[in-house]
């Protein structure tokens, strides 16, 4: 089954009010072209569930697409520092943060992936997070020991940028998959953006490298450079000029609109060169 879609069409799968999770971390292997397309299409009231967002939530916060976020840490990492548009949106009360630790988001996604309603998590003693974020406490029926538990969260979509995919949705990620393997199992369905589309035979030749199997995937978007200005190891590193330009652009009024316009042809060019 050929699941390849143009970026614009794949982004239309995301509907107002849905819960999404986004692959990559901070400024590494973020499906940035897809994130920009969501912003261009003006999707509203999304809830983002991701242990460590960065460029993605900063742009989506600037665009007003996200109403609520569950995360452990939000940063653009050094040398860019904290995500300024995320910070502003939160401090202005436009974006609610459900405070988590990275592994409590992980546990919520694990529960979803296992089809169970909640997941016990280790640690958290002494933290105020369980209290403000409504985690539960359950007595272990075997030892009586109390343990924190978090609810299952099953995102409607996992949007993941990969190095290689076939049109059925089999995909490889080189370097750390970060949380993406888990995300692909926790979400209802996956949307992949990919640096390359390759024949299925490529994946069948070494199936152990396929980190996302086709059965989880709804759409595949050819997006060469689709993580830009974040990295896609090993193809390209974080684009330093691209990051500073992004931060600079968004300081101006109407800066976001201009930024989205300027990046549009880059983002939408992938499909034209599809095999």
């Amino acid at each position: 089954m050929n699941k390849q879609l143009a970026l614009e069409d794949a982004a239309r799968l995301i509907r107002d009010g849905q819960v999404i999770t986004i692959g990559g971390t901070l400024c590494q292997r973020v499906p940035a072209a897809f994130v920009r397309e969501i912003a261009r299409q003006g999707v509203r009231d999304l809830e983002l569930v991701k242990p460590s967002p960065g460029y993605d939530i900063d742009l989506l916060a600037a665009a007003g697409c996200v109403r609520r976020i569950r995360s452990g840490i939000v940063s653009l990492e050094q040398p860019y520092g904290m995500a300024p548009n995320f910070r502003r949106a939160v401090e202005e009360g436009r974006l609610e943060v459900i405070e988590n630790a990275c592994p409590t988001i992980m546990a919520s996604l694990q529960a979803a992936s296992f089809g169970v309603p909640f997941q016990p998590v280790a640690g958290l003693e002494g933290s105020d997070i369980p209290k403000v974020s409504g985690f539960g406490k359950v007595a272990d029926p075997f030892t009586g020991k109390e343990v924190y538990v978090v609810p299952a969260i099953r995102p409607d979509w996992a949007i993941i940028h990969v190095n290689e995919a076939d049109v059925r949705g089999n995909a490889r990620i080189y370097g750390s998959p970060v949380w993406d393997r888990l995300m692909s199992r926790a979400a209802q369905r996956c949307i992949l953006t990919t640096e390359k589309i390759l024949p299925t035979e490529h994946f069948a030749a070494q199936p152990e490298l396929t980190i996302i199997p086709e059965v989880f995937v709804e759409a595949v978007v050819l997006a060469r450079g689709g993580a830009w200005p974040t990295s896609s190891y090993p193809e390209y590193d974080v684009d330093d000029d691209g990051m500073w330009n992004y931060l600079e652009r968004l300081r101006a009024p109407e800066g976001l609109a201009r930024y989205l316009e300027e990046s549009k042809s880059h983002d939408r060019s992938g499909i034209e060169v599809a095999a």
């Binding site: 405070e99 592994p103 105020d128 370097g175 590193d237």
Partner: protein, 248 residues
């Protein structure tokens, strides 16, 4: 102070010295100084320690270090890809000896706030969040905190929100090293170029053991030479505001 080192070098060396040979040490996101410190320690006194990098690598051998520690490039040379789910499993099973973690604020009872100040729904200040700290601080055998800045807004009497608390061993700053003793931060040593007066002015709570604490031994020639080899491009300096690099 010697012209051959400043706060970045002092911090990198001080953090490296805290690593014990044979330990399994985790370096997470947003952690340029710990990455330099562990790389340095592994070339000095702790060659058998194991570096677990959030970039996905075990004892990686990248050509050069970089400021974004989540970068997969920093894991080149590793014989496996160790992902985030694997790391949190390992730390939860008691398999991590030492973890380096950053902080936005910490109080005299060694409680860390990396979340927010003010109302949760509309905070006066939004911090990045604690990452995995809330889980890691109680689970890693030992946690070393660091911050490349030291002010009364960072070192506060009482944090308004506790993001994380737990097995803190040391906190390394541009001015000093704290240790945790009976649930309280205690001055462990003062960096050679810092006066006790300046430390007091820079800290938001009364410092325990202020007079009793020794000076941090300055970086040795050998440590500095190895540091230049490990970090020729000065990744250790990226967390410091330009003024603090020169003001030390």
């Amino acid at each position: 102070m010697s012209s051959s080192y400043g706060p970045p070098e002092m911090m990198a060396v001080a953090m490296a010295r805290l690593i014990r040979d044979g330990e399994l040490v985790f370096v997470g996101v947003n952690s340029p100084l710990p990455l330099v410190a562990v790389s340095l320690a592994r070339r000095l006194h702790a060659p058998s320690s194991t570096l677990l990098s959030i970039g996905g690598g075990i004892n990686p051998t990248p050509n050069k270090l970089g400021p974004a520690t989540s970068n997969a490039r920093l894991s080149v040379g590793s014989a496996s890809v160790f992902d985030n789910v694997d790391f949190y499993g390992l730390v939860a099973r008691g398999g991590v000896d030492t973890t380096f973690l950053g902080l936005a604020q910490v109080d005299e009872r060694a409680r860390v706030n990396s979340s927010f100040i003010g109302e949760r729904q509309r905070p006066a200040v939004r911090f990045p969040g604690g990452g995995g700290a809330a889980a890691i601080l109680p689970l890693s055998r030992r946690v070393i905190l660091w911050r490349a800045s030291h002010s009364p807004r960072i070192f506060v009497k009482e944090v308004p929100f506790v993001t994380s608390a737990g097995n803190i061993d040391r906190i390394v700053t541009p001015l000093c090293i704290f240790r945790k003793e009976k649930g309280q931060l205690v001055l462990d040593s003062l960096h050679p170029y810092v006066t006790r007066e300046r430390l007091v002015e820079s800290t938001g709570f009364a410092i325990k053991n202020l007079d009793g604490a020794p000076l941090t031994p300055p970086p040795t020639e050998g440590e500095l030479a190895e540091l230049m080899r490990v970090d020729p491009e000065g990744v250790r300096r990226v967390e410091f505001p330009a003024r603090e690099l020169s003001a030390a």
